[in-house]
Subunit: 446 residues, 2 copies
């Protein structure tokens, strides 16, 4: 790749013609994430309305910290975030929300708010005010950003307890309770649980109501990381039972740049309680967020966040929502799930060539491709090892052919397996058929 | 504003015609940050090449965590960030860097790397491993994100010590040493100093060499927050003495979306030592960052950062650098400084109407506008109070007239005063003249 491209930043500027050539070359060699046969990431596809929104966002080139310089966009944030909170639960209407650069930082906001709510002196005095070790809990299938919070914020990753999950990747709530009690017995302070709605690999949904009962019992903050699964809140058909109980959480992460197809980056975090973000994160920078302005300064957001400047991530989402409406998003969700069901059916119809690892709860489909030489072998640990070894080889062939991209990874229970994601509106049944036939074409002789 | 706009997100999608109308209305009522008479923020202007870059970025809609899905952009990051490190200092070539969503998070990365370098067990064990209170130091003029690090990371803001600055807003290094000794005498552990190169309000530069000597003496990490002033590294004329000694730091924040005019967001943080970001932030998410890939996985960046997904902030900067070259950026810096010198000269030529608060080191010009009734009053604390009271009123008139935007704020030494910023390439001497005459037109009767 380095040989194909001229990437130097020069002493003297290049010509306009060269710049246009640079742009063309870049697009040529970049991965086509909007292509209907790109099944590789949680964020796939290219929503044209969202893209138009991002173009206008670039043109308006402003920062989101004050109403003064982003009046229209700040009002849009209020409208869209309030609407999203109402979708989470009716009692969330008067809560608060913020757009953050990615789900990991959204989760960090939730962690910080929880710590501030429970230990208000922490902000000024730090950990010295607390007698005992703070501990947080999440499932062993959760996104690593929860563990990262424990590292960043000074608890240490040893104090992010990974709760075992069942065979479908859902947190086992009785194990959560056991681990909470164990830590309490050691004199620790369990205070935060992150349940995942839509795990990264398997697309599993933790049982929120069961986890919420335990949080109530032991006085812990419940966060729901629905960065991935949150989109299903928009579907009457698929919301329950997956996200049942989400309204009982204190905070929820939900990334429109994933299932909803908004352009990267677009991540939100929501709080049932208002004013918490402000009291948690405000550093009283009076020289930036003055109170004697022409307008109502409650619209300034800069003091609520741990960023100062903040990219405008709202316009593309607002415009997309205007274009689709709630029912357009609902149809989009139902269609993605329907296509996933189609893929599962097609896999089951070809048991010699494909092995479905589990029935999916979401658009993540976990499976192995079986090359000719392994088709008659009984399925056991040994065959799994063999199938796992082939994933990187088959993936490399896909990338060399340039016809298809599907991700693979190992997990705690098994070696490498493929995880297919359908989150692009461009995908059709034909692309699903192609996915399977192309894997077979590229891999049958492995 | 709410009455002028239809901001609802509807049940059913609106028509394409309505969407186009929405876009037009949004642009109409948004603040024109690219206008040559927008002097309000550190990020002003609209570089058209950078904008074209952002449009292509949106179209390519990808994530920066792996080489696999962002091969061209990842290589561009390597080229540009290496070049920026070489500009900081020749011994930085083999260091490491990352693009972060804003200067505040860049500073947080520096803090985390410093803590990890000095206390490698902290990541797993947390604060429990450390005997004594960690303390960080920065000037009382620094950006509030440094204080925020102390809050987020569990030190508490009381353990972010604000070192007094001189009349020009520069950290007093003898005061720093005094405060370090004081904390050491209390059994605390001073470990991190953030010097500012270009403070937010006054544009002051801390004396880096003096601060570096103290850091050497007491074994503390030196971070230079050059989010704002970093652009001057590109100018032979203005780099010294302002940024002299920057190469002695262990980490440097530098935001191309400020003085260099890259579109929002574009912030970088640089480290002299390689591998520190990885060992500090890696959470070993093998299921995302597998080692058995087709390509050299050292190009994957996802495990180096506290985000997971990361917006592509490099293409617009790379394209802009191709267009300008090093010498184009140097000319841009020299021109901004030259215009600032012009503004200062024009202010001094009208001492009845304007009061220059200090000779600027950068493009921040601090001054009061003097309305007719105060022109004969001797300049003392009482007049300063009167001048300060008028800033919000004059600003409100600017915004109602829609002809001009200049920011104001108080500081520790004085009430509200105007801070003018010239960081847009669109500004000319005529706009500077207009700035002063328009303030007089709008404010003379106050």
């Amino acid at each position: 790749m380095q040989k194909l491209l001229d990437l130097r930043v020069p002493d003297h500027g290049v010509s306009l013609q060269q710049l246009i050539h640079d742009c063309a070359t870049t697009l040529k060699y970049q991965v086509k994430t909007g292509h209907p046969r790109f099944f590789n990431q949680l964020s796939c596809g290219l929503d044209l309305v969202s893209m138009a929104g991002e173009w206008l966002t670039a043109t308006a080139n402003t920062n989101m910290f004050t109403y003064e310089i982003a009046p229209v966009f700040i009002l849009m944030e209020n409208v869209v975030l309030t609407h999203m909170r109402e979708i989470i639960g009716s009692e969330w209407k008067n809560g608060d929300s913020i757009l953050a650069p990615g789900g990991s930082l959204s989760n960090l906001y939730a962690f910080l708010a929880a710590r501030h709510k429970m230990f208000p002196n922490y902000k000024e005095k730090g950990i010295a005010t607390i007698q005992g070790q703070l501990v947080i809990f999440t499932s062993d299938q959760s996104h690593y950003s929860i563990k990262s919070c424990a590292s960043v914020c000074g608890l240490g990753t040893d104090n992010c307890v990974m709760v075992p999950s069942d065979d479908n990747g859902r947190m086992i709530s009785s194990e959560l309770e056991k681990l909470v009690i164990e830590r309490k017995n050691r004199g620790h302070i369990p205070f935060f649980v992150s349940a995942t709605s839509g795990t990264t690999v398997l697309g599993a949904f933790d049982p929120i109501n069961e986890v919420a009962d335990i949080c109530d019992k032991y006085g812990m903050w419940l966060h729901v990381d629905a960065a991935w699964g949150g989109g299903l809140l928009l579907s009457k058909k698929y919301r329950h039972p997956r996200l049942s109980g989400v309204e009982r959480a204190q905070s929820v992460t939900w990334n429109p740049h994933k299932l909803m197809g908004a352009l990267l980056q677009c991540s939100t975090v929501h709080f049932k309680e208002d004013n918490l973000l402000m009291s948690c994160n405000q550093m009283s920078a009076d020289y930036l967020f003055m109170q004697d302005k022409l307008y109502d300064v409650k619209y300034d957001t800069g003091d609520k966040v741990i960023q100062c400047g903040r990219h405008n991530d709202i316009f593309k989402l607002w415009l997309q929502w205007r274009a689709k409406g709630d029912d357009g998003f609902e149809k989009h969700m139902d269609r993605l799930m329907e296509l996933t069901e189609y893929l599962v059916r097609r896999i089951k119809e070809q048991p010699d060539k494909f092995y479905l690892i589990m029935e999916p709860e979401m658009v993540n489909v976990s499976f192995w491709y079986i090359p000719t030489r392994l088709r008659t072998m009984p399925h056991n640990k040994h065959r799994e090892q063999e199938l796992g070894k082939m994933c990187p080889v088959l993936k490399a062939r896909m990338m060399q052919a340039g016809t298809l991209m599907v991700g693979y990874q190992p997990d705690d229970r098994r070696p490498n397996f493929f995880r297919n994601i359908i989150s692009s509106a461009a995908v059709t049944e034909k692309d699903v058929d192609f996915l399977l036939s192309e894997m077979d074409r590229l891999g049958h002789d492995l």
